[in-house]
Symmetry: C2
DNA sequence: CCAAAATATGGAGACAGTTTCCGTTTGTCA
DNA sequence: TGACAAACGGAAACTGTCTCCATATTTTGG
């Protein structure tokens, strides 16, 4: 999935420039900038922009994808260095923190990707698997119940992402995580 | 908020036709139908459509608003007829059920309203207050903890709404509700 | 019941953002 | 270094959105 296409040097350069600029603008909260202006801002022609990212959503997806990959890596890392239940808690809390430091990005991505796409579902799945890994490990260690799946936890996270524009959200986000962790604890 | 404008007979008729058609189409999953085609479908001119609902989002909001009003009424009713903790549980479970029977609508509304608006926030607040009412009653009755606010529960619900397009969602949605209810229980 | 006033209608056309297309430029490989 | 392939840029065509106003409908008051 990562290979299969040896991109020409300038093409890669442009693609990266677009992606970088996109992340920057998205993080700043610009989600409906004119598409051709965006090309200008990134220093490439409109045609080039379109060749790399046929739609506004494709661009968002690419950024989103990078984000997911980083998240999954983090899950892996935590799982390898902490006890199962701590890894799970750390991941979930870290998720909220990350979101909080990239509010703009989160908000923009959730807006821009509202029209569900294949790539998006796929990304969600990848993240879901990472969460499932954390949950399974904790369940096997006897630290949490095993009758509620990773999908449920993903939904809760999704809720946090989706709501990330209200003022008091950090408190509420923490509340959700608390509810999820407490709800998961074997009683 | 409900009064203040005695609408002319034909105006009301057209408005209702638009709203009804919108609900029907949204429920069927059509969220990016051409706006002028939509007008034709509802049997009115484009100008009329625009006069009543200046944007696509305004239309979505109107439908969303009706939905919220119904939800709030339900909360009120449950609260009046059941013990606090049962009312809360019934409301949350009912929420999922309702969503499940109107998948298309839920999905469309969440897509269409991704660009947050004032009216939307307002609607969310109304629903949030209804949930807060249920929570407070249950907390006072000593059935649940009181250190997690309604906002957190709202976020979880939001997550359920937002994720409502995956195949296995009912199970996961139930999982979320279970986690929330168990997480809320005083330990 | 009718005329005047008020309100609403519809859709042609102006407009803005999107997307295609192709002549030119840049990179690659032998 | 030359020839070929890949990528570039942006003018122009296209597509959906939204405005505007002459026409039609409803309401009001005499």
């Amino acid at each position: 999935m990562t290979t299969a296409k040896p991109l020409r040097a300038d093409a890669r350069r442009n693609r990266d420039a677009l992606l970088t600029k996109a992340r920057e603008l998205f993080d700043g909260g610009c989600f409906n900038l004119r598409f051709d202006d965006f090309a200008k801002l990134a220093g490439v022609g409109i045609g080039t922009l379109y060749r790399h990212f046929p739609t506004r959503e494709a661009l968002a997806e690419a950024v989103y994808h990078e984000e997911i990959v980083a998240m999954c890596a983090r899950a892996q890392e935590l799982q390898a260095t902490l006890p199962a239940d701590e890894a799970l808690a750390a991941f979930l809390r870290g998720f909220v923190t990350h979101l909080d430091t990239h509010r703009g990005l989160a908000q923009t991505l959730s807006t821009l990707t509202a029209t569900r796409s294949e790539a998006l579902t796929e990304g969600g799945q990848a993240l879901g698997e990472a969460v499932a890994g954390l949950l399974n490990a904790a369940a096997e260690a006897g630290a949490i119940r095993n009758d509620v799946g990773a999908g449920a936890v993903m939904m809760a996270l999704h809720g946090i992402c989706a709501a990330y524009d209200q003022p008091e959200c950090l408190t509420d986000a923490d509340g959700v995580i608390t509810l999820v962790l407490d709800g998961l604890r074997r009683r």
